[in-house]
Amino acid sequence: MKFLCVECDRQMQFEERQLPGDGTLAAAFRCPTCGRVVALLTNPMETQLVASLGVKIGGSTITPQPLETVRGMVTTGRADAFTDDGKRETGNVPAWSPEAQERLARVPNFVRGMVKRIYLDYARDRGIAEITPAVMDTARTELGLEGM
C-alpha cells in the first residue's frame, strides 16, 4: 500500500496513525514536496485484515513481543496462560502512576503481561520516567495497539 501525490509525482510518506477505538483506523500520509496530507480510513473489516497479517501501517518503533498477534487477538485465552516475563529489568525502570496501574489492571490477564512490557519498552525508549494514562494513550496511537 503506497500513496502517490499525482500532482507532484512524489510518493507520500506516512505521517501519523489514529485509532478511534471503534475498530476503524486512520493513517495520514504527507507529500514531501507540496505538503498535502491525505488520510487513509479503514473500516473494521479492513483494519482487522491488516492486523491479521501481523503488520502495522506506519510500522512500529519497538520490538515485537513473542506471540504478539495471538495474545493481542484471542478473546478466550486462559488467565494463567503466561507467567510474568522472566527478563530482568535493568537500568532506569519507568514507574507506573496509580491511575495507569488501575488502567493496566483492567486489561485481561491473558494479555496483561505483554501490554505491560510494551508500555515499559515504549517509555524506556523515550526516556519517560512515569507511565500515566496520557502516556498510554499516546503509545497506543503511536504503536497501533488496537484494543490494548
Partner: protein
C-alpha cells in the same frame, strides 16, 4: 484527460510503514528460529479421524526415548490434543525476552499447543468484527502458525513434528512460512475413503515440492478393511513406514521412529 500515474512498483522511496519489509522480517524470524531444527516433518492426512495426533505423539515419544531431540507443534488450533497425548499437563508458559518457552514432557518432547493458551472447554475466538469473520479468521490462524514457529524457543531439535488439522490449508500455510518445503509423513486408515482423501493431500504436498517420507497406516486389524497404505505407497513411490494396530506397544512406535530415516 487521462492521468499519467506511476504504478506501485515504480514507487521505491523508503516509507516508514514498510509493510513488505515487515512481512520479510517475519519470514526471516521463522528461518532464524528454525535454524537449529534438523527437519520439519508435517504430519498430514487431509482426512479427519485417522489419528494424526495419535501417531504424531507416539512417534515423538519414541524419538525422544531413542535419544533424538523431538518437538511437536500442535497446528490443530481448533482441536488441540497434543498435550494430552504427550501426557503434558497444561501449565503456564514463560516468556524470556523475545521467545516463549515450550513445555517439555517427562520424556523430553518439547511441545507448544493452543491448548496451553485457550480456556478449557472454550473455542478459539478472536477479537474482531463479528460479521464476515471468514474473511480474516484464516489469516489470523496463519499468523498464529507463524508465531508458533518463530516465537517458541524450540532450541536444537532433530525433528519438529507439525501435527496438522484435517485438510490441506494449514499445510499450505506451513509451506509458505518455512524457508524450504517440509518433509511429509502421511497418515491413513485402511479404507478406500481415507486413501482417496490422503491422495489429494499428497498431491497438494507434491505440488508444493515437499519431500514425502512415507505412509503410516493407523487402526490396522480392526473393523476398517482395505489396503490404503499399500496403494498410496505404490502410487507415490514411498515406503509404508508402519502399520499401527489398535493397541500399539512402545515397540510399535520405536520401529516407526527407527524407519523415519
Amino acid at each position: 484527460m487521462s492521468l499519467n500515474i506511476r504504478t506501485y512498483r515504480d514507487l521505491t522511496e523508503p516509507d516508514r510503514s514498510g509493510l513488505v519489509d515487515q512481512i520479510v522480517a517475519q519470514r526471516r524470524r521463522v528461518a532464524d528460529r528454525l535454524a537449529t531444527v534438523g527437519r520439519v516433518v508435517a504430519v498430514l492426512s487431509g482426512k479427519g479421524g485417522v489419528g494424526k495426533s495419535f501417531v504424531t505423539a507416539g512417534l515423538a515419544r519414541a524419538l525422544a526415548r531413542s535419544g533424538r531431540a523431538a518437538g511437536v507443534l500442535d497446528a490443530d488450533f481448533n482441536g488441540p490434543t497434543a498435550p494430552q497425548l504427550l501426557h503434558l499437563p497444561v501449565a503456564s508458559c514463560t516468556s524470556h525476552g523475545d521467545v516463549i518457552e515450550p513445555l517439555v514432557s517427562a520424556e523430553g518432547v518439547r511441545c507448544f499447543s493452543m491448548a496451553f493458551l485457550v480456556e478449557d472447554g472454550r473455542p478459539l475466538a478472536f477479537r474482531g468484527p463479528e460479521t464476515e469473520s471468514f474473511v480474516w479468521r484464516g489469516a489470523l490462524e496463519a499468523a498464529a502458525l507463524r508465531e508458533f514457529l518463530a516465537d517458541v524457543a524450540w532450541g536444537a531439535l532433530d525433528e519438529l513434528l507439525v501435527d496438522l488439522p484435517p485438510g490441506v490449508q494449514r499445510f499450505q500455510e506451513l509451506t509458505e512460512l518455512l524457508p524450504a518445503p517440509p518433509t511429509v509423513l502421511a497418515v491413513t486408515i485402511p479404507t478406500v475413503e481415507s486413501r482417496d482423501a490422503v491422495r489429494r493431500a499428497l498431491r497438494a504436498a507434491m505440488d508444493q515440492k515437499a519431500t514425502l517420507l512415507g505412509v503410516v497406516e493407523n487402526m490396522v486389524g480392526g473393523p476398517f478393511a482395505g489396503s490404503a497404505a499399500d496403494e498410496l505407497a505404490a502410487e507415490f513411490a514411498v515406503p509404508v513406514l508402519a502399520r499401527i494396530p489398535w493397541h500399539p506397544t512402545p515397540d510399535t512406535w520405536a520401529a516407526l521412529a527407527g524407519r523415519l530415516g
